[in-house]
Amino acid sequence: MKSLGGSAHALVDMQLGEISRELFVNQDLYREEQERIFARAWLYVGHESQVKAPGDFFTSKMGEESVILTRDRAGKLHVFLNTCRHRGMKVCRYDQGNTKNFICPYHGWSFATDGKLVGVNDYQAAYQPPFDRDQWGLVEVAQLKVFRGTVWATWDPQAPSFEDYMGEAMFALDKGFAPWDGGDGQTELLGVPQKWIIPSNWKFVAENFSCDVLHTVSHRSVDMVGIGPSVGEGRRDPMGRQLVTSYPGGHGCLYGIWPTETPRQDYAGSAETAAYFQDCWQRRIKRMGKQAGIIPVVGTMFPNMSFHAQQPRTILVAHPRGPLETELWRVYFVDKDAPLAVKRYLRSYYLRYSGPAGMTEQDDMENWNYASAASLGTVSRRYPYHYKAGLRAGGASDDVPGRVTENPVTTEQNPRGLYKRWADYMDAPDWTALCAAQEQP
């Protein structure tokens, strides 16, 4: 891959906190992103609870492309590009299920759940000499990792390990995707993903969830009517002190830090849920001590995996479909061991919060939609976006790793970090350069 010679960094001014509108509307940059970001980075693919048994599959996406997450007959997880090696047809057009083979509807090639080409129509007669079927299995990702139930993959064999890719953001994933008691129990998805299409660039979604405390004004209407899990105003229960943290890999997160000596009153709207949470909270304190109060609220793992880890608990992936179109996939997760009544209560809370019918998320999508539309024009593109909040604030914290800003909590350091890393990907020809760029401010 040739270098863009620093041209992407010219669009992202870290000193001034100004980012060019071209990032959000430009077709050429969008095409480059597919090669330089989505074909190289670690991407979220799915959740282990979607493929429990051998033969289970779940059809997902990595960037623009359809992939199949599957558990083979021997129990091993794989992620394959969903395209037949013969003439490109999708070998799986079902959303989920269990199968022995993926059979292409076009010419009948069939692939086992470990990706091997096991059947070719008219193999003996049509191919003289016979071709080597081992060379024509499904295209598989270069690396795959399961972490606390979440499944990730990258197409790039040169990419660093998942742990190195995340770096200190592993702390956020570990805390965010543990069950409520902080132990090693499992989480599971509440059901199938919500999938919907929005008319805006994927980076609006990524930066919003990386931490944009300033945008809470978007949600004033839902705060006024109150949809929180306890009776009263607002969207959430109190989550304690807040810290904004960014990581060199482009990841960003907002933490809530609850003083463990102060009792919590979460989920007061449901006696069963409150009791379950309280029981988990006590066990969490016993297990983790003062660390028990440190829980991510919201975050984005570069490039496009975003999450809420407290209220609600959900993963949102912003799959690119074009400079001005994004396909959102949102799943909701709960402790596997939680009682059914708790899962039901959480589901109704989660669904009134998030997704296309979510009373919070609806207003985000209106803003991303018309911010994109109003940034398309020739004149409009001359004026960069303003990311100056907390420009010179930030440092280290004893509580959490990463670059931490507590004051002002409205800092835009996380979007700045995301776009700095975006420029690294766009300019760096290989992972050696990408790793070196990570060390530069």
Partner: protein, 187 residues
Amino acid sequence: MSTGYSPCGPDAARLAYLDLMREIEDFYYREADLLDERDYDPWLELFTEDVLYWMPMRLNLPWEERAQDITSEEDTAWIHDDRATLEKRVRQIQTGIHWAEEPLSRVSHLITNIRLPAPVSVLPEGASVTVKSRFFVYRNRLETETDVLVGRREDLLRRLGGELRIARRKIVIDQSVLMAKNLTVFL
């Protein structure tokens, strides 16, 4: 037909059935007008206190699993609301700062194919009847933003205080990936 109305039945039962059908049709046309004229408070009164307002999702599944291609009540959904949440959705629009519906979208609800899968002639106080229908909802907002939402509804209508009320609404949209950016329009 196995139960209820028979076209060869006694005249009184036939007339009662036609009368009930007219009442149900009129109920739906009034509901459409209330929504499209943004008269949300009387619209809320059409629902019982214990209503489930539910919009499941659709899956792409093999032929033999087609019966499961609508998500179950224990699965995720687009919407899974009780009466209190439905009221909050209305109150949010009425704040005047719910940006997804401010300014308001222009909406038309076309409700057709109204049918009682198990016809009855009379609906006495406290009794319920299942009603199936189709919706074709056109939404246009700001300049050219346009969505068309099409699908089926299955309602449980209950007679309370002499009036029809919606005790349960299931909305089955004919999309798997939702092509509208949001669902701020009531279906």
